[in-house]
Amino acid sequence: MLDDFLTRACLAGVGVALAAGPLGCFVVWRRIAYFGDATAHAAILGVALSLAFSISTVIGVLAAAAAMAVAVSMLSGRGLAMDTLLGVASHGSLAVGLVAVAAASPRAIDVDAYLFGEILAVTRTDLAVIWGGAAVVLGLIVWRWPALLTATLSPELARGGGIDPEREQLAMTMAIAVLVAVSIKVVGALLITAMLIVPAAAARPFSSTPERMAVGAALIAVASVFAGLGASWRWDTPTGPTIVTLAVLFFAVSCSLGALRRKAG
């Protein structure tokens, strides 16, 4: 069954979607979309790193994304506005990364694959990495759910309840880095943040509790993957961007229905 590249693409997409949906809710709740961008763009630096040292791309990307995440977390609140800092980090790592990839590879390599993903070229090994990473992210979220949620709701409440909000934030940050590392092959560095934010935002109008929003986001992300793969197959469009386009479509529909319902209610 895994011999079919479309099956592998579906499985890879579903793996990323299941983890990105719930994790994306935290990105939305904490308003750290730009932080997600910076972490994702650092992935290109990671690609250069792995080319230069001939190590696995996943390891290189994970190291770069994690380093970026920790660096930005530590630099925040030290004078520069967070917004500015993230802008520099996000675009800086993308530009430097692209330069470094060109410098590190002896022959011309297809950078597009890292920027936009190559879901139709997912191998069995990639699948194992993607599902392994997704399981780590989902496991972390399920395991630490009450603490993560309390720390996200209010750091003060968390401290009052014996939870260290900074530790929870670090866990969240590392989860984003892991997801970036395993999903670069599926949607690429430029569109990973979209898979985090768009399904979560689409789930918001129809959620009354955080749990429902997390499950809803995962379902919408999975639906986007299937619909996007189908549409890309039918109209021969680039797959990663098509998946994100479908997610945005779900978002638009959900927001319109939510607005209608509010008017009616």
Partner: protein
């Protein structure tokens, strides 16, 4: 019974010494109110009592097994996070069946369980926060400006509620307040804070003490006549009867 005691406590926030040399204790069954100008370390004091900030010097001694119910100040919930009152109250702990309904009933908002937290009014929000603190059946309630954003009748009702909670649970209460004159009837002891304990005593005494007036300047809120006959308070010669501003 002594619930918590601070001995020579100092707390440093960054470069600044936010609290210095605090000696303070709260007993079971008493309501203590901390007043002080902005930046006087009121919130830091509460956070030190919870254990969220470490002492730079001195110590915080808690009774063994002390359960603290803490209601922080300025809790802002992001509208992107959907959460009902019931879910909010269940957050972070397993609650016994029916305990949430009882807590909401006790704080006077029994019908809010299904509402979104972000749809509550200021008064409802504060009551839900109080209900959350009560769910852990605390020995000590720490309330950081529980009456913020409420009008005068709302404040009075909230302080009555806090008094009733103290009577039922027999817990100790330490709360931070801006307006001494509103809280006077509801408190046993007042601590005027300005980085350190400026003065301390029964409400009427503190409000008329010269130290308190120095701390708050001429605009110091005076005592209201109705609080003059607070039970247990004796008019002592050094405080006189200058309890009106």
């Amino acid at each position: 019974m002594r619930l918590i005691a601070m001995h020579g406590l100092s707390v440093r926030l960054g470069e600044q010494l936010a609290l210095r040399d605090i000696d303070l204790a709260v007993d079971r069954g008493e309501v203590v109110t901390v007043v002080g100008p902005n930046g006087s370390g009121k919130t830091t004091l509460l956070r030190a009592m919870v254990g969220a900030v470490p002492p730079a010097a001195g110590s915080v001694e808690r009774a063994p097994g002390l359960r603290i119910g803490y209601v922080p100040q300025r809790l802002h919930l992001d509208a992107t996070l959907p959460i009902t009152v019931a879910r909010f109250l269940r957050l972070g702990a397993r609650r016994r069946n029916g305990s949430i309904g009882r807590a909401l009933e006790e704080t006077g908002v029994p019908d809010l369980a299904g509402r979104q937290m972000t749809a509550l009014s200021g008064g409802q929000f504060q009551r839900v926060l109080l209900a959350r603190a009560l769910l852990s059946e605390p020995d000590l309630l720490l309330l950081d400006e529980p009456a913020q954003g409420l009008d005068q009748p709302g404040m009075a009702a909230l302080y009555r509620l806090i008094g009733a909670v103290r009577d039922r649970l027999g817990c100790g209460v330490l709360m931070v307040s801006h307006d001494l004159h509103v809280v006077m009837g509801a408190t046993d002891r007042v601590i005027a804070l300005n980085g350190t304990v400026w003065c301390e005593g029964p409400p009427v005494a503190v409000s008329s003490a010269s130290e308190y007036r120095t701390l708050f300047g001429e605009a110091a809120p005076g005592a209201l006549a109705l609080n003059r006959h607070a039970p247990g308070h004796r008019h002592t010669p050094e405080y006189g009867c200058s309890t009106t501003s």
